[in-house]
């Protein structure tokens, strides 16, 4: 029994985290069709902000809010530095500039802060545990699930009930045409990056909660996770990102619990092979999202 509860909570909390990561990426990748390799660095920026604030007497929630704001700022900066100048010119160019920007941020952290792992302040509640069905579970995992649910609700509202979501998709496919209809396309795209930063900021709080410290390379893992979740879920829809996140968590956790250690080390190989198979089967991911307007 305890094992099942543990398994369930592991899947749900990891899945929530993955879903949040994917959601932050899907806005930029799925809607704007831009591959943002600097997405992971938004998490790093939030992490270092938290670390730098660690010495101050501010209450933790204030620190967290500032960290999230910094991530939003970094998201907007990414757009200005890496995307606006080359956007719509070439997919590969965008990819390389965003990667360059990510290197830039990482090395700035190296240069101005430190190559070493830095401990971030965390509230005590993050490391408390509760006993559920016989299993000892970090309270943080429950908080992650709650936070993901809240963020998801906020995002569905923004994307579905406001014109912003529509304007984003319009500006992403036909930038000039969107402007000719009066849509402030630049602003719309910037706000997409800001939203992405907001999610990255929230993610970083929980991700850091798991690992306790921040290093310059902290963003890689979340970036990979977000990519894969986005892709298998279906990069054109928000639900897809969420489904992809939970599915990935389910796959990983199942492998974790069931593979013998000799095979466990190949876990990533299995996971990614599965990703390839899913894509071969459904190149647009599991959830199609709004139908695409492609025809001959």
């Amino acid at each position: 029994m305890a094992v099942y509860v543990q398994f369930l909570i592991d899947v749900l909390s990891l899945g929530s985290l993955y879903a949040l990561m994917a959601l932050g990426l899907v806005i930029v990748y799925g809607i704007l069709k831009l591959v943002n390799f600097a997405y992971g660095e938004l998490i790093m920026v939030a992490g270092y902000s938290l670390f730098l604030l660690g010495g101050t007497p501010l209450p933790w929630l204030v620190m967290a809010a500032i960290a999230v704001l910094m991530a939003i700022g970094a998201g907007i900066a990414t757009e200005y530095a890496a995307f606006r100048p080359v956007r719509s010119k070439s997919v590969t160019a965008v990819l390389i500039t965003s990667f360059a920007f990510s290197t830039l941020l990482q090395n700035a952290a190296l240069l101005f802060i430190s190559p070493r792992a830095r401990t971030v302040p965390l509230p005590d509640i993050f490391s408390d545990t509760v006993v559920l069905g016989g299993a000892t579970i970090p309270l943080r995992n429950i908080l992650t699930i709650v936070a993901a649910a809240i963020m998801l609700a906020i995002f569905s509202f923004i994307m579905k009930k406001t014109v912003l979501g529509l304007a984003m998709r319009a500006a992403a496919t036909k930038f000039t045409m969107a402007r000719m209809l009066g849509i402030p396309a630049n602003l719309v795209i910037t706000s997409a990056f800001a939203l992405s930063g907001l999610l990255a900021g929230v993610v970083s709080l929980f991700w850091l909660g798991r690992i306790g410290s921040v290093v310059p390379g902290i963003g890689l893992e979340p970036l990979l996770v977000a990519f894969i979740a986005t892709v298998i879920g279906g990069m054109r829809s928000l639900q897809g990102a969420v489904v992809g996140g939970f599915l990935l968590a389910l796959i990983v956790t199942t492998f974790n619990y069931s593979l013998p250690p000799e095979l466990l080390k190949f876990r990533d190989a299995f996971t990614f092979s599965l990703v390839i198979l899913i894509l071969l089967w459904r190149p647009d991911g599991l959830i199609k999202g709004p139908a695409t307007g492609q025809r001959t």
Binding site: V215, F255, L264, K265
Partner: protein
């Protein structure tokens, strides 16, 4: 030429930085101290280090680069994987290379050449010391061992600990693997929790940043079993990451202790270090950097030159008194096995404390 150049390829960035950066700072203090006393063989010493970026290929490139610039001695980074390429280039150039803290027995004259050494004890000694402390001093009879597969160091440390622990009569209830960078320890944790009988001690061979994540994960779910490891625990960011709450019942085998209890000259070194870098040293890896330079200087003085063969001979035939303890080497046929004691350190309340010098009664063969 009125200079002796010591070249380094220590990593200032990447996973190795916490070990190498500290080593470099210590080495800088040593160079300044020697120069203030008039240098070596009447010449000034100059230290040139190029960031190896925790990448073996870059380390190799940089070693060639510094040798090219005239380096006559090479300081190699920690660990066989990262330090090896530098030592190999030093060997190619027929000069002596010493790693500041590589402890895998692969770091030997067998695999690197007859002019290559490491300042650290081998993992045979480190693992055995840990096993004897656990089994003999504390009476812990069963162990759970987690091995980070990442580098030779992490892998062989577990191997020798396990081997010696079993030889002593202990039982290893589960051996588990992990690879640096995975950041997700839930599988291992699940298996640990599922063990029918709780182990007496958990041995984790890994290093920062993931080491902190692993220990936190274990402590968070309420497991208070003692945890043991090697010199990679000697990292202030680990103490900080664990804090008062999780930093308890942790023991590790390191190189030395940054206090007068460990060595009478330690106080002097700390003064010099503070004067040069403006802060107290926070890990014993600064001492390994200082020692490496001092060891080179003493050997060069004995040899009367920086000639590779002569310095190597001096290193093989003498005993040196260093901040990390007394050190002598076996000859090249026996692999340049270092012979030295280990410092045992405990962490409680998030703060490390010195438990004294130890020397294993026996150790496994490499």
């Amino acid at each position: 030429e009125d200079e002796i150049i010591i070249g380094g390829a220590l990593s200032l960035t990447g996973v190795q930085a916490p070990l190498d950066e500290a080593g470099l700072k210590g080495a800088e203090v040593a160079v300044k101290a020697l120069n203030d006393q008039g240098g070596l063989l009447g010449k000034k010493i100059k230290l040139i280090n190029i960031d190896g970026k925790s990448d073996p290929v870059t380390v190799g490139n940089n070693a060639i680069n510094v040798i090219d610039q005239g380096a006559e001695l090479v300081i190699a980074p920690c660990d066989f994987d990262f330090g090896g390429p530098a030592s190999r280039e030093a060997q190619n150039a027929n000069i002596v290379g010493i790693s500041t803290c590589a402890s895998d027995p692969l770091y030997s004259s067998w695999s690197l050449g007859d002019k290559q050494f490491t300042l650290s004890m081998w993992n045979t000694a480190m693992g055995a010391t840990a096993a004897e402390y656990a089994f003999k001093e504390r009476g812990w009879k069963s162990a759970y061992v987690v091995t980070d597969q990442f580098i030779a160091y992490t892998k062989s440390l577990s191997k020798y600990f396990t081997q010696h622990f079993k030889d002593l009569g202990g039982e290893v209830v589960l051996e588990d693997a992990y690879t640096q960078g995975a950041q997700d320890f839930s599988a291992q944790l699940a298996r640990l929790q599922a063990l029918p009988e709780k182990p007496d001690v958990i041995f984790i061979s890994s290093y920062m940043p993931d080491l902190g994540t692993i220990i936190r994960a274990i402590r968070e779910v309420g497991i208070t079993t003692p945890i043991m490891g090697g010199d990679s625990y000697d990292d202030p960011s680990l103490f900080e990451a664990l804090g008062e709450r999780f930093g308890n019942e942790i023991y590790f085998v390191g190189h030395t202790w940054m206090g007068a209890e460990a060595h009478p000259d330690m106080g002097k070194f700390i003064e010099l270090y503070k004067a040069q870098h403006g802060s107290e040293p926070d890990t014993s890896f600064v001492a390994t950097g200082w020692d490496t330079v001092m060891l080179m200087a003493q050997a060069v003085k004995i040899a009367g030159s920086t000639d590779g063969a002569a310095v190597a001979k001096a290193l093989e035939e003498n005993e040196f008194d260093l901040l990390t303890g007394k050190l002598s080497y076996s000859n090249a046929e026996l692999g340049h096995q270092p012979n030295k004691s280990a410092a045992l350190i405990g962490i409680s309340g998030g703060k490390p404390s010195f438990l004294g010098w130890r020397r294993a009664e026996s150790q496994p063969a490499p």
